[in-house]
Symmetry: C2
């Protein structure tokens, strides 16, 4: 724990951040399959051996990459969670945040299912897998907290076998599922172009999320409150920067 080893550690952390920066750039440019350990090593001033001192294997890199993306999502979630709104309005804001995250970082939506589907976690190092899990739990908990405050305020009343956890998993699954289906461009979801795909994804997510919360009986029901107007307002305020860069203001699907 001498000063030197401390500086060394910082150097290593710096280099690791650099590896992940470059890995993300490669994935963005050339897709998930375009990321190879050779390319990643060549993009730095170090060789492959050094790369393998930082990451146990390729899955370890992917795990690290995904964690950074999830941290960004958590930041999006945080902005929605902190709004001074009743629980169901707040969870609607968080749903919008999740949508915007998908639109802002589409690669994440493409990588996430691969990571979950294949056994990448088992192959990655335990530290990195745990670090990813921690952030994922953070995202989950920020939604769960809202559900719990809904229970506390009485706006949300669960019946028989239901639980706040099951509700959150349902919302989560809806987002993951719609993202996957929309991205695959398969079957009944063939989009003419990228913009149409975006609009479809947003509309399907919003509609089904709202119906799910209605089904749980979370007040105010969507027939009693204009959640679309709330979303519009949030796009102009809390998420104005993202809405602007994504060109979502005044789009026909939003003004409906």
């Amino acid at each position: 724990m001498t000063p030197i080893s401390d500086r060394k550690r910082q150097e290593i952390a710096e280099r690791e951040r650099n590896y992940l920066d470059l890995a993300l750039r490669i994935v963005l440019d050339q897709g998930y399959l375009g990321l190879t350990m050779d390319k990643l090593a060549d993009a730095t001033e170090y060789s492959k051996g050094t790369l393998y001192q930082h990451f146990k294997n390729k899955e370890d890199v992917i795990c690290g990459l995904l964690r950074r993306l999830q941290i960004l999502r958590l930041e999006f979630f945080g902005r929605a969670s902190e709004l001074d709104l009743p629980p169901r309005q707040r969870i609607t804001a968080l749903g919008l945040a999740a949508e915007l995250f998908v639109l802002a970082y589409p690669e994440n939506t493409r990588i996430e299912p691969i990571l979950k589907a294949t056994s990448i976690r088992e192959k990655a190092s335990k530290e990195r897998s745990d670090a990813l899990e921690e952030v994922e739990m953070g995202c989950f908990n920020s939604v769960l907290k809202i559900a719990q405050s809904g229970l506390a305020s009485g706006d949300l009343k669960l019946q028989d076998g239901d639980s706040a956890e099951a509700l959150v998993i349902g919302l989560w699954a809806m987002h993951v599922g719609v993202g996957l289906i929309a991205n695959a461009g398969c079957g009944p979801c063939l989009a003419e172009n990228e913009a149409a795909n975006q609009a479809f994804l947003q509309e399907t997510l919003y509609a089904n999320g709202a119906r799910l919360l209605d089904g749980y009986g979370w007040l105010p029901l969507s027939k009693d409150f204009d959640y679309r107007a709330l979303r519009q307002e949030l796009l102009r305020t809390t998420f104005s920067k993202e809405a602007q860069s994504l060109g979502l203001l005044n789009s026909p699907t939003q003004t409906r």
Copy 2:
């Protein structure tokens, strides 16, 4: 179109079926990544060159494999669709069929997201990709038909921006999403064992599916009809064979 070319064609079709049989066996035994073109060729009495005369590339094999699995799913769906029940009861039966399919063919659930996430479709041959799409549309349409008969009978009334298609996509996404999350065994869904994972998947799917349909206002609402009892009955009748081989009869999560 001579008799000989006809027999040849049949031979080729036979061999192709054999390839897919063996490919499925390899995936079941050694996982998705365990399937290689070498192993698949070695498993037959033909060489790699012949394998590549049948399939354009590895993605083409995967596409063919998935189509066969989807055909099995469609068969499950068909049995539920043909039941003489009111629409919401029928779609509940179909939901149960989808659950049983996941339990009966877990590998499908693992392969499906990979296929949708990576651009396997683009690499596979157009014929095989189209053939897969056709079966997928069949699954989608069998659900859509029930939604439409719900609209026709008046049990289901859509409001403002909703559509029967969006509802079906919501149900579909819920199944895909829950399957993905449960399979990844991540975050809040860490199962102690395989049986607990099964129970979790079933319960989460049923609960959220029911809430979603309640949210759409599809009558009878789950508070007015005992859908759990219906599911039990279906496990003893229409799906008795599957329920028995999966050990689902008299399980604690079912009798609740």
